[in-house]
Amino acid sequence: MDLLAEAGGLKLWMDDSWSVSFFSSPYVGHRLLSAVDIYQGADFGEEAFSPVSGVVHKIMRFDSPSPGGGSLPEYLILIGKNHSLARIMHVEPSVSEGELVRVGEPIGIFIKNGFFSYWVDAGMHVEVRKKTSIMRSTGGLELKPAPALTETNGYSDESVSLKGRVMRSTERNTVVELNHENNVKVGDKICRVDGTTSLDYCGLLGAYDLGSVVYFNGIELGKVKHKGSYMSLVENNPLIVYVDGTRFRGLSFGLGCERIKLLPPHYPGPVYERDSMLDVVIENEG
């Protein structure tokens, strides 16, 4: 297991086959630099593994948002040591309060509910909390991402026609390996980008000055609007994404696996054959 992030003396870990995102979500914990989504390559209904070691402090059940016709359950699983707890969502627990859990051990199964949109894969939402602040959506401690996640592998100044090799494709989304690094240019610096073009914001790994312009493959993604201690928020420009000529909802940059996720305009989206090549075009709207 590799270090993913830490806060309040608590360390979160990830396997090298998992992908993670601090910013590909509209929810407030991500906007406050205090949440990370972890995708373990499993589908809904499959086993979820702990990113943290500690004792299961508390398990709580809630109803999730619903557009009518009943509501699906959501859970908070709080695992930790001393005064800090990992607050894990989107997993139906198989562990019990008081149980000792180690990193990588199963803690339940991935669930879907009203906190998910159709393009979102099975994954857990994780924050670090003080024991006195567990219920509200705000109150997460600022996460410090592991140095390995912030390392970049270069940036080509010359814009290229983007092409993606399909690695995995479902009715929810398609993951491609792009012929361009998942890096952006901020002023004269290069850094990792994380987030989704269809949201009003994305994030950078690293603290960058307010107003700095962020470029990906020659396209202006937006400007830095908030500088945290270890990460920054970018106000996204409105962007349009086309995949093989079809307008998509957007694309997500991820961390961990060097891949990009294409979000179809509706459910079910097109399913592509593995290793097929897709043209990806990103344009500024208007």
């Binding site: 914990g29 809630f62 879907k112 509910n113 939402h125």
Partner: protein, 145 residues
């Protein structure tokens, strides 16, 4: 009137953002619609404004939280806060359980003539929220199947 299972009382006005407004002269009571309450299940906290606080039109005057989301409550017009529902501080779940009665959020007073452009009557609201509900259900496709 109803949008599917969600009630929209005829006598109220409505704003975009799932809020209802009950007008009486220059005074108004604000609250969350039943559709809004369903899209924010299990509200666990609310921040209320102070009495006499003044807000511009569409400025956030309160906010509430579920375990994962924060929603702002915008002022429908330039106003002064007369009273807030202190019951919600201990029982924010009233916003979900009784959104049109015990779950009211604030009583406000308009500081100018009440502009009608941000307020929908029930017929307009039902038409608008039918579209919103349809978009929400599109977003959730594949989740409830």
């Amino acid at each position: 009137m109803k949008v599917d299972e969600f009630m929209f009382p005829n006598e109220l006005k409505y704003m975009k953002g799932h809020m209802w407004v009950s007008l009486e002269g220059k005074k108004a009571l604000l609250g969350l619609t039943s559709l809004g309450a369903s899209l924010s299940k299990e509200i666990v906290h609310i921040d209320l404004p102070l009495e006499d606080e003044v807000f511009e039109a569409l400025e956030p005057l309160a906010s509430f939280e579920t375990i994962k989301s924060v929603t702002e409550v915008n002022s429908p017009f330039r106003c002064r806060v007369l009273k807030t529902n202190q019951l919600l501080l201990d029982k924010p779940s009233l916003l979900n359980k009784d959104p049109y009665a015990r779950g009211w959020i604030a009583q406000i007073e308009a500081l100018d003539e009440i502009p009608q452009d941000e307020l929908m009557n029930v017929g307009e609201a039902v038409k608008y929220y039918k579209q919103i509900l349809s978009a929400e259900r599109d977003k959730y496709k594949g989740i409830y199947e």
